[in-house]
């Protein structure tokens, strides 16, 4: 309905403007010309009316953004509640080409999964823990996990509930 009203308003304005301009029954071409003039005026008004606000918004965003260090900017997209320092800690432990399987518990496991697989690139995640070189336990205990039998040696703990462990077949 809103679009119809907007369309109607533009058409009516064009019709009235064309009628005033031509002082007789306006042709379709005259109405079209009036709408074009309306659009051009609107274009100028929109540009000059909004360019200050848009520039101001951009400048304030810049003053916020330039305060960020490179390290802060790199994790700016971290979903709320995701332990990104754990991801950074893991990053230094994976060798090039090594793959991992993420064992995550909690309501935000999808966010954790997507963020970790992004931050840990170019190391790839696997869908099958047996094909992984590492198991990553996020919010879960390595020893009580159903994947415990895949672990070759003891898990390396980052903090309680956050650890990584090599898979037994991995060299």
């Amino acid at each position: 309905m809103v679009l119809l009203i907007q369309l109607g308003a533009v058409l009516l304005t064009g019709l009235v403007a064309a009628a005033v301009w031509s002082k007789s029954r306006p042709s379709s071409q005259a109405v079209a010309r009036a709408i074009v003039i309306l659009a051009l005026v609107f274009g100028y008004l929109a540009f000059w009316g909004k360019v200050w606000k848009a520039s101001d918004d951009l400048l304030s965003q810049r003053s916020q953004s330039e305060k960020l260090t490179q390290a802060q900017a790199a994790v700016a997209g971290t979903p709320v509640g995701v332990n990104t320092s754990f991801a950074q800690w893991i990053k230094h432990r994976l060798d090039p080409g090594e793959r991992y399987y993420l064992v995550s518990k909690g309501s935000n496991s999808e966010q954790v999964y997507q963020w970790f697989t992004y931050v840990l690139s170019p190391n790839l995640a696997t869908a099958d823990p047996r094909q992984a070189d590492w198991l990553i336990f996020y919010g879960d205990s390595a020893t009580s996990s159903p994947y415990a039998q895949l672990i070759r040696a003891g898990a390396q703990r980052f903090e309680p509930g956050y650890s990584i462990a090599r898979v037994s077949h991995a060299s």
Partner: protein, 470 residues
């Protein structure tokens, strides 16, 4: 330092490649002023051309690293510039488009004054935007989860990492989505010498600046710059355009290329100038290789152009359009063949989408999708009335004899693109629909606003004042 100079060098190569393409097509006039005016269009054309070739090479196993990219860009530039005599004069200083513009504006002093002030305002705004985007952090979900993730993998591997695209561990990042944008980002990262997720935003901003520049050049060449100028610069301050652009999502880049493609297709319908069709196909391929919605809208636009031509007096042009469609298919096919051959599937099956029983089972998704898309289109603070303005003008032009077929082209393209978007929501497997709509409808309507903007530009142009591009 390299984080700034590297991408600048890449952008210059895109411009050179684009100038080659424009010259090969016969658009350039062969003067420095014309070349300078064409930089925006050349930049976008270069991206579409070089990235489409690069995607084709990637799919046959050729890694895209800087030497290959430089070779491709310079080859396109040299071959294109040498293909016509005008190519040897593109950097020669003599009167051209700008001189013509000066004399045209001298006759319209008030308009000239307004236009000059507006261009200066746009220039300042463009610089402010560039300063901000240089430090903008990558914080939007789909940017890091889908687009830049792929770009980073292409940066690390150079070639298409098959395990990454085919692993079920990564289905969430939509491996079937076209890769023009990730490839573009990965080339920029290579030029930077590192992954700088802040500096990459500047490249997105340049797409917008180049788009405005391209519209101004086309307006200048067809003698409608006075009409197109306020509309072109207004695009840059549309909140949904610059706001979404800063997210580093693919929607606005796709919409910018789509809008140019549809506009040039409309130009071809009006003038039957094959050069317009050639450029239209290039930008439609670029749009289709950027996002699936771009592919859908490009197919719709080409189909409608075919119908308009078939119903019009010059059916012989269907043959030319047929060739253009073949070129379009050739441009989009490599990625589609690669994904198909690796068993990569999208969110929905076209076969399901054509099955009456499947459609009937999912009919409950139709109305919420219509409502959601519609409500996004009419938010005046997002798109600044581009749809009602373009729509009303097209409706009136249905009754203007010389513009009837063009108006029908834009109205049918817009309506069918809307229907196609609804169809995608209808048959998509994504559940729940409410979440899907709330996270995507505000972006995908850029397809419709792109068509509406092209309609507004072309239908606003006086038919009796049109000058040939040549």
């Amino acid at each position: 330092m390299r984080a700034d100079l590297g991408p600048a060098a890449v952008d210059i190569l895109f411009v050179l490649a684009g100038l080659g393409v424009l010259n090969a097509v016969g658009v350039l006039r062969g003067s420095l002023s014309d070349t300078a005016a064409a930089v925006g269009l050349a930049f976008l054309a270069g991206i579409c051309f070089v990235m489409t070739l690069s995607i084709a090479l990637l799919t046959i196993g050729v890694p895209i690293r800087l030497p290959i990219f430089v070779a491709l860009s310079l080859s396109a530039a040299l071959l294109g510039l040498l293909s016509r005599p005008t190519g040897r004069q593109v950097f020669r200083l003599h009167g051209g488009s700008l001189g013509e513009l000066r004399s045209r504006l001298r006759r319209k002093r008030l308009q000239a004054w307004i236009a000059t002030v507006t261009l200066c305002g746009f220039g300042v705004y463009a610089v402010i935007g560039a300063l901000e985007t240089r430090v903008q952090p990558l914080d939007a979900w789909d940017a890091w989860s889908i687009w830049t993730r792929k770009a980073e993998m292409l940066f690390f591997s150079g070639s298409l990492p098959v395990d990454f695209f085919t692993s079920s561990a990564y289905t969430f990042m939509h491996p079937d989505y076209p890769i023009l944008l990730p490839l573009f980002e990965s080339v920029q990262f290579r030029a930077m010498g590192k992954i700088d997720t802040q500096a990459i935003h500047l490249q997105f901003w340049l797409l917008l600046v180049a788009f405005v520049w391209a519209i101004l050049y086309l307006g200048l060449r067809r003698g409608t710059i006075v009409v197109w100028l306020p509309l072109a610069v207004a695009v840059s301050i549309v909140p949904a355009v610059w706001g979404q652009l800063l997210t580093a999502y693919a929607d606005i880049p796709m919409a910018l290329l789509l809008s140019l493609g549809v506009l040039l297709l409309g130009e071809w319908l009006a003038s039957r100038d094959w050069r317009m069709l050639a450029l239209a196909v290039l930008f439609l391929v670029g749009s289709a290789n950027t996002k699936n919605e771009g592919l859908m809208a490009a197919v719709v636009a080409l189909g409608v152009a075919g119908a308009v031509t078939a119903l019009g007096p010059r059916r012989v042009d269907l043959r030319v359009l047929g060739l253009a469609v073949c070129a379009f298919v050739a441009g989009i096919l490599p990625w589609r063949i690669w994904t198909e051959s690796h068993g990569i599937r999208g969110d929905f099956s076209v076969r399901d989408g054509l099955s009456p029983s499947f459609l009937a089972d999912h009919a409950g998704r139709v109305w919420p999708s219509v409502q959601s898309l519609y409500s996004q289109l009419v938010i005046d603070t997002s798109w600044l009335y581009v749809v009602p303005l373009g729509g009303a003008l097209a409706l009136v032009c249905l009754f203007v004899q010389r513009k009837r077929s063009l108006a029908a082209f834009y109205l049918a393209t817009g309506a069918l693109a809307f229907a196609a978007l609804v169809w995608v929501y209808w048959i998509s497997a994504t559940i729940p629909l409410g979440f899907y709509l709330s996270t995507s409808a505000y972006r995908v309507v850029s397809v419709l606003t792109a068509v509406a903007f092209a309609a507004l530009l072309q239908l606003a142009s006086p038919t009796d004042d049109r000058s040939e591009l040549g």
